[in-house]
Amino acid sequence: MIQDYTVEKVMDARNSFCPGPLMELIKSIKKGEVDKIYEVWSKDGGSIRDIPKWVDKAKHEMVAVIEENGYTRFQVRKTR
């Protein structure tokens, strides 16, 4: 897949369990800059459910959810 945007920071949370990956994302977004994209990797099934829900609730933007071999990459734009 060709991306026409750059990711500011990637958090590899594949060694973590729910809610670890979501918390990594929240930490980065909290400290990060508006409009920048943050990416978290997770192997935990709970993340598939929780991360999009949180992004929606916090009114950020889910740029992409990419399935890799055995894990998922979530790319989120900080909007506010």
């Binding site: 729910c18 809610p19 918390m23 930490k27 709970g46 459910r49 929780d50 949180w54 916090a58």
Partner: protein
């Protein structure tokens, strides 16, 4: 002491440090010179703290002197570690001394950083240490007194930041508060709210179903994805990162946790001060002679006494085998499987029991909230001081 003994240094005389010290002191006495350094004279049993808010008993039975619970062959220093030099393999103490090590076990737990959340110090009460409990008891007394006027008020139980010790403790706080308010006959005029930073009340889905069912039954309002950003003391409002606001009259909140200051600047910690270790060997991957256990470690498992206990046993057995020459430090075994247990108070007289690890959710029977688990919780303190800490159980 013999010069050719291997120097094993344990930092922290809490649950994890004491268990490692006892196992090494007993099982590797010929091979290891074991030293434990702790800045507290006592080892503290914290699992009863939420209950102590409500029963108002003295906290004196919650601790015992470290020297009394640690094997006599272990040297115990009541000192504060102020820095760690991982290259030269030594720690510096506040007294000015420097202590070298061959193998280091970091078990110095967490500290509370009350300033990390604006408004916390001014507005929030907690039960995470003795001072917190004393203040909360007073605030609760006043709340009950004021409640006699029949006005509707809000009690909010929340979490300042993740991770924190014992993920079930705030749940217990909410359940026991609910029962307490009923006993004081002000439940009908009190709205009870629970703020959870994640998508449910508890992180393990199978257990969460049961917790949330109980919340519904007891009319505890659950607010999910509520990551505390600021507490506005003037308006008595808590604001979340997600943009929600909740009003409170009494706010009970888990304080923000961080790793210990002496670790700052070392290459072995993450940005919150937790020591990076392999999740199964508990060994730092860049400095294999360093292990971290319990609350101090950056692990995807609850920061709890029970997990610190199992991690301590795993680490001690690896170190015993290393000092006895059974294998090299680069070959330590994956002895920790993420095991943790917790007895969860679901009222002032009942509890559930969760037993889980990295791969397995809690057993089904543990979800049945009952009086027997409550008695286990009530008397677990004795098992802790006279069983768990020895490393024999």
């Amino acid at each position: 002491m013999s010069k050719n003994k291997t120097k094993v240094l344990i930092l922290g005389g809490g649950t994890g440090g004491v268990i490692v010290a006892n196992l090494l002191g007993r099982k590797a006495k010929k091979q290891a010179e074991v030293t434990l350094i702790s800045n507290q004279e006592n080892v503290f049993y914290e699992a009863d703290l939420p209950y102590r808010v409500f029963d108002k008993k003295s906290l004196d039975s919650q601790f015992k002197p470290v020297r009394k619970v640690v094997n006599k062959r272990v040297t115990v220093l009541n000192e504060e570690v102020i820095s760690l030099d991982v290259e030269n393999q030594s720690v510096s103490l506040k007294s000015g001394a420097s202590i070298p090590y061959d193998y280091l076990v970091i078990a110095t737990g967490a500290h509370y950083d009350y300033d990390a959340v604006p408004g916390f110090k001014e507005s929030a009460y907690h039960f995470y240490n003795e001072e917190g409990i004393i203040e909360l008891r007073k605030a609760l007394n006043d709340f009950v007194e004021n409640g006699k006027d029949g006005k509707v008020r809000n009690v909010v139980v929340g979490i300042a930041d993740l991770p924190f010790k014992c993920p079930v403790a705030p749940l217990e706080g909410a359940f026991m508060m609910e029962h307490f308010l009923r006993r004081k006959k002000i439940r009908k005029t009190t709205n009870l709210h629970y703020l959870s930073p994640i998508g449910g009340a508890f992180s393990i889905e199978q257990a969460n179903v049961h917790i949330e069912k109980k919340f519904k039954k007891k009319n505890i309002n659950l607010h999910t994805f509520f990551n505390t950003e600021t507490i506005h003391t003037d308006r008595k409002i808590i604001e979340s990162l997600e943009g929600d606001e909740i009003e409170y009259d009494l706010l009970l909140m888990v304080p923000p946790h961080r790793g210990q200051d002496y670790l700052n600047g070392t290459p072995i910690i993450d940005e919150s001060g937790w020591v990076n270790v392999n999740i199964k060997t508990l060994q730092n991957e860049d400095y294999p002679n360093i292990f971290a256990i319990g609350d101090a470690a950056n692990l995807p498992v609850s920061k709890a006494g029970s997990s610190a206990h199992y991690q301590a046993i795993a680490t001690a057995h690896n170190l015993i085998d290393v000092v006895k020459g059974k294998f090299d430090i680069s070959q330590v075994k994956e002895r920790y499987d993420g095991h943790a247990t917790c007895l969860v108070m679901t009222s002032l007289t009942s509890a559930m029991f969760f037993d889980f690890n990295y791969n397995r959710a809690p057993f089904g029977l543990g979800y049945i909230s009952n009086r027997l688990f409550y008695y286990f919780k009530k008397y677990q303190r004795f098992l802790y001081f006279y069983g768990f800490l020895s490393g024999r159980m």
